[in-house]
Symmetry: C2
């Protein structure tokens, strides 16, 4: 355990690229703990594609991270000092401590207590965390797939996409993934159990590849990308299809991109397209994690981690994630395991 605190501050907004120089690591004191508070030593920091939106100036679904403040982020940490009876020393917590080595908390920024005996504690940021919950809400609650239906997911080897594929298999669906690069295709097929996986970078005709991978059409589409992948999938949806819009990482935020209008296809196919944010479902977070834990215990989940050591390297790791160069859940190891 290092005795120094470190914050990584947001110094500038993307214009429009996200670069490491938007951030600055600065030394900070370890904060004092008052009554009703406890000190969290951060062990793991989650990096998420949504961070691009969190730091952008443009109107978005949340207030942008203020300039000069530590960057926002989901974390797993250990309580190392406590004046709060609900969080004794040694408790493992998954919370929103942000890009900080040490943070004081009153419990309001803690999402849940983590059982280190169940699974590696880093999974509280992936399969048994926000990524798993995102996959669960978008697939199970918005798409509501029936056994035998075809579920397509983009960024299929990613932290959310791989969970969509695995939950789809657990529900008895055909799971088809779109991903970029031969390693990710192999991960989809060998690790995450997809029935088919398409390398969009190597495929000359994505539509043809989808026809081959989805011979019965597409019933559910969990989209993290938008743009051409969305267009080719939309052309192949079945009557009554459900499309969950979880992300738009393949589309620029500005200027607003144009593309084929989906209205008529949604009409002809009586299909539904729905955006969602996992943060809207936080009131049911414990129940969702409990359901994911059941599936985990039943052996349905495998995962990959892409670990960067040291909080000071988080900015470069975020840039790498946004470029799609990670392989598995992007995590920063901020401190030693408890």
């Amino acid at each position: 355990m290092t005795d120094e605190n470190l914050h990584v501050l947001l110094r500038a907004r993307p214009s429009p690229e996200v670069t490491a120089s938007l951030f600055e690591p600065v030394a900070a004191p370890i904060p004092a703990v008052a009554d009703g508070q406890f000190l969290v030593r951060v062990v793991w920091l989650s990096l998420d594609p949504a961070m691009r939106g969190w730091i952008a100036e443009a109107a978005n679904y949340s207030t942008p991270v203020p300039l000069g403040a530590p960057m926002t982020g989901f974390t797993v940490g250990e309580v190392v000092e406590s004046r709060h009876t609900g969080f004794p020393v040694g408790t493992i917590v998954q919370g929103r401590q942000g890009w900080r080595r040490y943070a004081v908390s009153d419990g309001s920024d803690i999402d849940r207590v983590v059982d280190p005996g169940l699974a590696p504690i880093s999974t509280a940021l992936s399969v048994l965390g926000l990524n798993g919950a995102t996959a669960y809400v978008g697939l199970v609650e918005i798409c509501d797939p029936k056994p035998g239906e075809t579920v397509l997911v983009s960024t299929a080897a990613g932290a959310v996409g791989s969970m969509v594929g695995q939950i789809a298999k657990a529900l008895g669906c055909r799971s088809v993934g779109i991903t970029g690069g031969p390693d990710k295709v192999l991960a989809c097929l060998d690790e995450f159990g997809f029935d088919a996986a398409i390398d969009y970078k190597a495929t000359p005709d994505l539509g043809q590849a989808l026809d081959a991978a989805c011979p019965d059409g597409i019933d559910c589409f969990f989209d993290n990308v938008g743009a051409e992948q969305f267009d080719r999938a939309l052309e192949r949806i079945n009557v009554g299809a459900r499309i969950a819009i979880c992300g738009t990482i393949g589309m620029p935020s500005f200027p607003l991109p144009v593309g084929p209008r989906p209205n008529r296809q949604l009409l002809i196919k009586r299909a539904r397209m729905q955006g969602f944010l996992i943060l809207d479902h936080y009131d049911r977070y414990a129940a969702i994690i409990a359901r994911l834990t059941e599936l985990y215990r039943a052996g349905h989940f495998r995962w990959r981690e892409d670990v960067t050591d040291g909080l000071e390297n988080a900015p470069a790791a975020l840039v790498r994630l946004l470029a799609g160069h990670n392989s598995g859940k992007a995590l920063v190891r901020v401190g030693a395991d408890p």
Copy 2:
């Protein structure tokens, strides 16, 4: 009652315009009635924007009307000869007799028996028919508006749009319509009780006009148009908005039009966009008409009819409807009232 039958046949497909010359009226014998059948004398024929899709070659939600066959259409008629105990002479029926003066039926192409004491029988093709049911399913079942919410509808003075506005008012919503021309704006405000109505043809900035008409944003959008009206509305939806896609009359069928991609706005606003076809809901048609009849009896509905006399004039009347030159529900008076 004329003693001659007449069929209006579809002779060619739109390329891409719908013109009257695609159709040909031809004399035909009055068919004989076998056991289990009855003869319907058509009184009213409904003209519907969806007919553009019914006659197009391109893949659509239904098999195209065959060339050389009578054009498909919803009708109200009188049973004038019967060898079917369920449909005695004098029964008024709403069915799918198509562009014909006389048609024989075994009941399978009859949607419902009409009570001529309740309302003018032509309303079985409008407020108490498919238009009313379309408005009901799209607004109540897909958008599910709450009292006090703002409901926007395009083609607001039309047969479906005017019903959306009136059902929205009956549910305690603010109703805002987009329509084309000062007469239609007046109809929206004075007859159909809209809280605000926008003349898109006279408005230099549709976005500004929507801002003024929807000061609390848009919670529900019932869209019959697509294209720019859709774009300006989408920019103004609230978190959790619901968009029912009922038609795309403002968009060409081919080539596929491009426009701003809606994915990111749907995501940020956690909004839903859903296409629907009333024909998918036919198993519940009686219940939907019963609910509309309750609202009708409670005085919630007014309507306008745009009547063309003579089945031979149906092609020209359809062209006029597709150009937006009708005022109210487009009907053809095929024969005298019973």
